[in-house]
């Protein structure tokens, strides 16, 4: 969502300021310790403990059960469908994000702010509604339902519906990152390239893209994480057919509702690992982006 997704340069990357050096910006030790204890305690209970619990529950019945749960044919087919949904939705939204950022950041036109608000819309819509809209369009009673049935197209309770729902919920990620970044960079460099005889594509590939590559990568990482982890939207359109229309998060739900907790947490641990990899990549990209900014300033 808006503020949360923006490429953020963490403190300390660009030289640390020592707040404790001056009495004007420092708190009494007792207050400092109280604040640290409270906030780190809150962090540990609310964020760290659930993460630990996933791996603990996954391995509770030993590695044998863990491996069996992951190599189950239904689990493997869920992995394939999850990868497929991400492989379609991420490139689609990447192309859209670049195109939207080019139009919004490099040109002036009326209604720009309104357009940006509309692009953000999927973030403020409940995932359940993101699934419902596709049922209203392609479901049996939907606008295009009869047409789809006539042409023997199965969209709802099938793979295309899952892809559509994933595209909807991951829609703003890349655009959100690129628009402010490309706005901040202005258009002088591209204009110079054009004046020097470059074509539009050359200016884009050789000037714009290298300038925004870290922001772009950041958007793609977040987009991919959401695409692979989406639950609510996909759950509405999936129909939960094992081995056919189950993504990994839906497979977790099915196993859990069957009281097969060890297997549910085993599959969940794969998704938790994916989240940790996402956070690591994200931190790396922030670091590289901060260094690139530093280099361009000095």
């Amino acid at each position: 969502m808006a503020a949360a997704a923006a490429l953020h340069v963490p403190a300390g990357t660009l030289g640390h300021f020592d707040y404790q050096a001056s009495p004007a910006t420092r708190e009494a030790p007792w207050l400092r310790w109280t604040l640290l204890t409270l906030s780190l305690g809150f962090f540990a209970v609310f964020l760290l403990l659930p993460l630990v619990a996933v791996f603990f529950e996954a391995l509770r019945k030993g590695w044998g059960t863990y491996i069996t749960a992951l190599t189950d044919p239904d689990a493997l087919s869920a992995v394939r469908l999850t990868l497929l949904a991400a492989a379609i939705s991420v490139p689609l939204n990447l192309v859209f994000g670049i195109s939207a950022a080019w139009a919004i950041a490099k040109f002036e036109f009326r209604g720009k702010q309104f357009l940006i608000t509309l692009i953000d819309l999927p973030f403020s819509v409940s995932p359940v509604i993101a699934g419902l809209v596709w049922v209203l369009i392609f479901g049996a009673q939907g606008w295009l339902g009869p047409w789809a049935a006539e042409h023997d197209l199965k969209i709802i309770f099938a793979v295309p519906g899952i892809v559509l729902a994933t595209v909807f919920v991951t829609f703003p990620f890349v655009a959100r990152e690129l628009i402010p970044l490309m706005e901040a960079q202005g258009r002088e460099e591209e204009e110079a390239a054009i004046v020097l005889g470059a074509t539009g594509w050359q200016a884009f590939w050789r000037v714009t893209l290298p300038n925004v590559k870290w922001g772009l990568l950041y958007g793609v990482i977040l987009c991919n994480a959401r695409a692979m982890g989406e639950f609510g939207a996909v759950s509405v359109v999936s129909g939960h057919i094992r081995g056919l229309t189950n993504t990994l998060p839906l497979h977790v739900e099915i196993l859990y509702n069957e009281y097969n907790f060890a297997a549910a947490f085993a599959v969940a641990s794969i998704l938790a690992l994916l989240a940790l990899v996402t956070l690591a990549l994200k931190t790396f990209v922030e670091y590289r982006h901060a260094r690139a900014m530093e280099a361009s300033v000095s």
């Binding site: 036109f109 819309l121 759950s235």
Partner: protein
């Protein structure tokens, strides 16, 4: 209607590709987002206003709205307090593991909601690590009477899940403002004789307020629509622990498409109002940031 996002005058552009880029943007936006969302409106328009009102004022639906909005408000308020504290510690203090904690704050964004849901349920169930502490025989159970305190499968569980998913919104909105804050302000306040608490309340808090409100609104908006992390821990008892998004699913499972859509429209209108409020807040925040004469470097 609001002005269409099209240029009214043709301008001369040095850079090429404006028509293609804007045309593609609007076409794709319409196909993927606007047309599908408009289906919610058109489907609901097949109802009379009385029918629409009957659906969304049914006791079970009203109970779910109350829970969703009430729990989301409380969760966002808790996140404002602890999010500010955590952001403060991350910006101002040095402690081991700080970078790791800074990176892990975004965990609720990265962790699939279903995973968060089952993990929280395992923790807060009566036999879980935290739940057992509040169970009748647990360390804190006796404080809550003979039954202990049941967390999972009650509205309290819903609240826990919403606190989990909302925390990064507040931290990530407040943190950059805190980092940009000029220390001169605090030095001036201190040199004029202000106590630390006075400086915080009278100098820092007013500067942080727009960011805190934005974080609150973002966390609240996300919490109202949240589904995956809540349904496992909620227990989903009608009238007690059913959230509004679950009511949509319930209606869909009964093939009551119109009913599901009416509830969805009520939620959509509310999130659109929230979105406008968030945009206005962010505009206010941006105005505050540009008004001050250059941040700390």
């Amino acid at each position: 209607m609001i002005a269409l996002p099209f240029p009214f005058k043709r301008r001369f552009h040095v850079l090429p590709g404006f028509n293609l880029a804007l045309g593609y943007t609007i076409a794709y936006l319409s196909l993927i987002v606007l047309l599908p969302l408009s289906a919610v409106l058109f489907k609901t328009l097949t109802l009379s206003f009385g029918q629409f009102w009957d659906i969304i004022s049914a006791p079970r639906v009203v109970a779910s709205f109350k829970l969703s909005f009430g729990a989301s408000l409380i969760a966002a308020a808790i996140n404002v307090v602890f999010g500010l504290m955590l952001a403060w510690c991350l910006v101002r203090y040095r402690f081991p593991g700080k970078k790791l904690i800074d990176a892990l704050v975004d965990l609720p964004f990265a962790l699939p909601t279903a995973v968060a849901g089952i993990a929280l349920t395992a923790l807060y169930a009566p036999n879980g690590w935290i739940g057992s502490l509040f169970a009748p025989g647990g360390a804190f159970g006796a404080l809550f009477g003979e039954q202990g305190l049941k967390i999972a499968f009650t509205p309290l569980g819903v609240l826990i899940a919403l606190v989990f998913i909302g925390l990064p919104f507040v931290v990530r909105t407040v943190q950059p403002i805190l980092e940009d804050l000029e220390t001169e302000l605090e030095e001036a306040a201190a040199s004029l004789g202000a106590q630390r608490w006075q400086t915080f309340r009278l100098v820092l808090l007013p500067i942080l307020t727009p960011a805190l409100l934005t974080g609150f609104a973002l966390a609240f908006a996300r919490a109202v629509g949240e589904y995956g992390s809540v349904i496992f821990i909620a227990g989903n008892m009608p009238m007690v622990s059913e959230i509004a998004p679950l009511m949509i699913i319930t209606k869909l499972e009964q093939y009551d498409y119109v009913g599901a859509t009416a509830i969805a429209l009520a939620m959509l209108i509310l999130s659109f109002v929230l979105l406008l409020a968030i945009n206005a807040l962010q505009g206010w925040q941006a105005a505050q940031r540009t008004r001050k004469p250059g941040g700390k470097s």
